[in-house]
């Protein structure tokens, strides 16, 4: 029981991070119908920038957090403006290759800037671990869960209550109809890219204190985030959270009860299974029939 609870805590913590990454995929997919293969690199950039700004430059925590998100959102903006919008033939295979190219490029740049070594950051608060029924819960986990909850609620408010959020949803339903109504759809796409990159960087900021961060962490996290998004149903925010949690818990249980070698394989088996059996995801209602 105690063991189970311990694995559950670690699973939920990791799951929350997968959920944030999945939300980044979902956000962009909803607004543009695009899957960004460089999403994981935003997480990596978030984690490494946070370490540099907070640990290296000794900025206060909130300032480092905001600055990191802003910088990575800017990278996302540049990616849309310089690479995605200039494409003449927006065929999926072309966009996949471009975002893969962007991912390799960002990874290469990160390797030059931060080197090949792994870095770590201290946790956000210096509180002692909490003990619940013999299992320990790190305060960082609470931080992570709190931030993820805040993001999900913030996204709901953004989509339901603000004009920009509604406009973005309109673009997702039909770009042409939205622009006929006077919605600047190009600006919405740009905004979606910045938001989804920012979301990825928040995932990175949150993960920095609980794992070692290095230039090559992005691909794995991006894939897991995508897996979480697919698991819950691509396009649904709650689905992303649900999928992230599911994946995190499954992974933790596989590591705990079988072997730590399995950790990374779990996500891919789940991904292949879900792609095969139910591409619309566990919570998704609309069938995935894009392209």
């Amino acid at each position: 029981m105690q063991e189970f609870l311990q694995y559950l805590f670690s699973g939920v913590t990791n799951g929350a991070i997968y959920a944030v990454i999945a939300l980044g995929f979902t956000m962009l997919y909803n607004a543009t119908g695009l899957i960004n293969f460089a999403q994981g690199e935003f997480v990596m950039l978030g984690a490494l920038s946070m370490i540099t700004l907070w640990k290296g430059l000794q900025l206060p925590l909130p300032a480092a957090f905001l600055l990191t998100v802003a910088v990575v959102a800017l990278v996302g903006l540049l990616l849309e403006r310089l690479a995605i919008r200039t494409v003449r033939k927006p065929h999926p295979i072309v966009l996949v290759i471009i975002t893969i190219g962007a991912s390799i490029l960002l990874r290469g740049i990160a390797m030059l800037v931060w080197g090949k070594d792994a870095h770590s950051a201290p946790s956000f608060s210096r509180l002692a671990p909490i003990e619940i029924a013999g299992a320990t819960l790190l305060p960082q986990s609470l931080w992570i869960l709190g931030v993820v909850l805040a993001i999900v609620i913030g996204l709901q408010i953004f989509h339901r209550k603000t004009m920009t959020g509604k406009a973005m949803e309109a673009c997702a339903i039909s770009k042409r109809a939205a622009s006929l109504l006077g919605i600047p759809s190009e600006r919405m796409v740009l905004l979606a890219f910045a938001l989804s990159a920012g979301m990825g960087s928040i995932g990175g900021v949150l993960i920095a204190p609980i794992t070692m961060s290095s230039y090559d962490m992005g691909m794995m996290l991006g894939l897991k985030g995508f897996c979480a998004a697919m698991l819950g149903g691509l396009g649904s925010s709650w689905g992303a959270v649900f999928g992230g949690m599911m994946l995190g818990i499954l992974e933790a249980m596989a590591v705990g009860f079988f072997s730590s070698d399995l950790r990374d394989a779990v996500a891919f088996f789940v991904l292949l299974l879900i792609l095969y059996a139910r591409p619309s995801g566990l919570l998704g209602v609309k069938a995935v029939q894009r392209f």
Binding site: V96, I104, C227, L275
Partner: protein
């Protein structure tokens, strides 16, 4: 005309084999041949059928590891290990393709990426059989009866004859009914299906074919360097393969040769390349896809034709990217 082309190609191979005595250059050319095989196989999948694979290094690695394990641990003859590797890889490719090719576009990309990662992880973790991170050493070199193929020159001929054969196979395939059907799938899968093409069978077929090419390349590679490690099949290798296809030009058989040559020679000629490798690949992929989505060969030809206005420009109408 076509026979003339192949004859000329063979002549060039002979001339290169006779003329080049420097063993370093011979080995470089051999590597180009192996990479051409890989690029050619992937090009059949990406260029002609329009299906992306971001995990192709897995088939290369599986082919190499199968023959390496069979010939070292079990002392099989390489010529028995080759069909075994091909059968195993085609079986794996078939099983992977069965669910995967129901997907397309982004989902196929993610699925194949995941498959490549799983294979890489399994090869690394299953260290009792694969040697883990340190890999396998002492893979025997090839021999044809009494004729040893251990020398650089013999191996060079072997690889390039295989390349020539695959060129002939691919060109014939592309010009056949199957090739036309593949291109129809590329242009519009539903239309192709409506024309009576069994799209899923063809897609699975071309996926397996390209995996077989990769496994043969893996076989040739591992018996040349007599060593294999997980690094030979990690994600960056898959990206390198996609880059070769993209540079050479999708749906261009001879473009595969160009792409493979460029990406084999470039890292060799730039010694500082290793640290910048990822940046260079990333930029190449993005720039070519943005400006010359047809690849270097086709793209430059198009530019030439447009400026010379020799042929009337083909106008392709395209629906706006809205659903």
């Amino acid at each position: 005309m076509r026979k003339l082309k192949y004859g000329f190609f063979l002549l060039v191979i002979m001339a290169a084999g006779l003329g080049i005595t420097n063993s370093y250059y011979l080995q470089l050319l051999t590597f180009i041949g192996i990479n051409t095989l890989l690029a050619l196989g992937l090009n059949m999948l990406m260029g002609y059928a329009g299906q992306i694979s971001l995990g192709h290094a897995a088939f290369y690695g599986l082919g190499a590891y199968t023959t390496a394990i069979l010939t070292t641990a079990l002392n099989w003859s390489p010529w028995l290990a080759l069909p075994a590797a091909i059968v195993l890889v085609s079986l794996v490719a078939f099983l992977v393709a069965l669910p995967m090719l129901k997907l397309s576009g982004y989902y196929l990309g993610m699925g194949t990426l995941g498959f490549g990662m799983i294979t890489f992880i399994l090869i690394r973790q299953w260290s009792t059989v694969t040697g883990g991170d340190s890999g396998l050493v002492g893979v025997p070199s090839l021999a044809l009866g009494p004729l040893s193929l251990a020398s650089g020159k013999a191996y060079f001929y072997l690889v390039w004859v295989v390349v020539l054969i695959s060129f002939i196979v691919c060109e014939r395939l592309v010009d056949s009914r199957v090739g036309r059907a593949l291109r129809a799938i590329h242009d519009g899968e539903q239309v192709a299906a409506a024309m009576g093409i069994d799209t899923s069978r063809l897609k699975i077929g071309v996926f397996v074919l390209s995996a077989i090419f990769a496994s043969v390349a893996g076989f040739l590679y591992v018996h040349l360097v007599s060593f294999i490690s997980p690094n030979s099949c990690d994600f960056l290798v898959s990206v390198r393969l996609v880059t070769m296809v993209v540079i050479g030009g999708m749906a261009s058989i001879w473009g595969s040769l160009l792409g493979a040559s460029l990406l084999t020679i470039l890292p060799e000629s730039l010694h500082v390349f290793s640290d910048y490798e990822m940046i260079v690949y990333g930029l190449i992929l993005m720039i070519i896809m943005i400006f010359l989505p047809q690849g270097l060969t086709r793209g430059l030809l198009d530019l030439y034709e447009r400026s010379a206005a020799v042929y009337p420009r083909k106008v392709k109408s395209r629906e706006p990217a809205d659903e």
